[in-house]
Symmetry: C2
Subunit: 330 residues, 2 copies
Amino acid sequence: MSKEVVISTRIRLARNLKDYPFPCKLGKQGREKVIEKVKSAIKDSNSAIASDFSFINMESLTPQQSVSLVERRLVSPEFISNTEGRGLLISSDESLSIMINEEDHIRLQVIKPRLSLEQAYDTADKLDTLLDENLDFAFDKKLGYLTQCPTNLGTGMRASVMLHLPALEKSKAISRIAGNLSKLGLTIRGAHGEGTEPKGAMYQLSNQVTLGISEKAAIENLKNITIQLVTQENQARERLCESIDVRDAISRSLGILRSALVITHEEALKLLSNVRLGILSGQIKDIDTETVDKLMTAVEPATLSVNSNRQMSPEERDEERAKLIRETLK
Amino acid sequence: MSKEVVISTRIRLARNLKDYPFPCKLGKQGREKVIEKVKSAIKDSNSAIASDFSFINMESLTPQQSVSLVERRLVSPEFISNTEGRGLLISSDESLSIMINEEDHIRLQVIKPRLSLEQAYDTADKLDTLLDENLDFAFDKKLGYLTQCPTNLGTGMRASVMLHLPALEKSKAISRIAGNLSKLGLTIRGAHGEGTEPKGAMYQLSNQVTLGISEKAAIENLKNITIQLVTQENQARERLCESIDVRDAISRSLGILRSALVITHEEALKLLSNVRLGILSGQIKDIDTETVDKLMTAVEPATLSVNSNRQMSPEERDEERAKLIRETLK
């Protein structure tokens, strides 16, 4: 069952070029040089991975296209807050991406479905090696990789899993769990990371410690805690879904999603989360979690606009969202 | 369209026997004599109508069976508040009924579907004539039929129509209309008459004046006003149902009714009223108003219990109600 509570796994590595100041200290020209160096490192390599990447100049995007990248978890909210001298390299299936000139020169990211920390790390490691062949990274023998923010110093790695925890949320166990996790060097927060509120019972669990611990050990730690959380969620779900009121809420949520003509983003996520709970508990049998997971991203405001290829008012978006949901779940 | 806004028509005649005090002044024995006289008047007649009646001793009913009679609009709430020495004659299709020893000795009632005041009055008149052949009614040449309450004196007739007015209710026009109606000798109130709140946008419109006006004139007046109200409702509906929010509420209402596992009486009526509005506006095409109208009565608490043939807690009833609705509307 673990593969269904865990929606996706992400590995992110922070790297900086030895001969350049951190992006915040770099002017536009300096940033553009960094972009050129990273692009070349990918393009000039002989790897199959490399030829699959395309480059996006962040300055060329509309605000909605930028926001949609955040909604799809391909870049950080910070990355689009100021797009000057920033670029994105991204693979065709969007599972690999490299933010250039975010907080660090390079933030490479690998996303895999379900719980797959080792595989995601393997891929990230290969991409890192490939870049390392053509670039000179800022590295200290004692400290490890140097990063702009000291919290990333060392491995420069953040590993995280996206978890759907409706039962732990509904039973109010999540805040107690969050408190305990920080003692274990982990943190749990909303789906879009730091400073974001959980929506649709989606939580991001990630490692906090990057110094004095190997990547393997950090991943092992995160994996063990994830498996424990999944077990707790499964147990809480079993108890919760015995209640007729919860089963009623699940059934109504699907009924509303299948019939609404107008729906806000917030309501859609809440109802989709209930439907996902219903699928996991076995109450809903004609829909799979993959469909719901894709919808959860597709109903995000900017992604909805980008996918429909037109400018929409918030009211039009609420209608478009309802239509997409009805057609997907019918 | 008028036939769809008007759900049913009812004619009620109040009659008293000349040689007996009004029921409130009669002891149990006296009441039982009145019951016997009325039963005999029906049974001894040669009419086809007569042989179709069955008799219910109100004292023999369970509280739920009594309440169900009120919910199905076959007797008044007052009639079941004290069942001693009270009886009910009722035709097999429940369209004709005679309350014996309510406020008056006889309250005969005819219910017909849709707007059919003349037909309902014709039937009531025939039943009245049949009773008159075998009973001696208290009648004054100047005043007309004598009744316990002076508001019924004269014709002793209450004619009423049951109207579904969701658009006039939602657009808040109904209170203004109610004020005007009283000046025209009519009154509008909740579905179960005097002192009841409207539920599911169901309103009972009836004549108030029984003295100094013929039955025909009273019926003509009620009919004209009904037709005007239907026109106003139709116009209000057309305006109202242009709104996407109203159309969304209608669509969601059906979605919830088709998926809820638990539903209260109040919520069910509210949602059924929205669905009925959707049928009349043409938005909902796979359900007819007759189905909804039958459900509106079938979901009433006591009727639900009586029809399911078992004692139920309020929680069980909310589940049973949801099940009945799901199965009827699927």
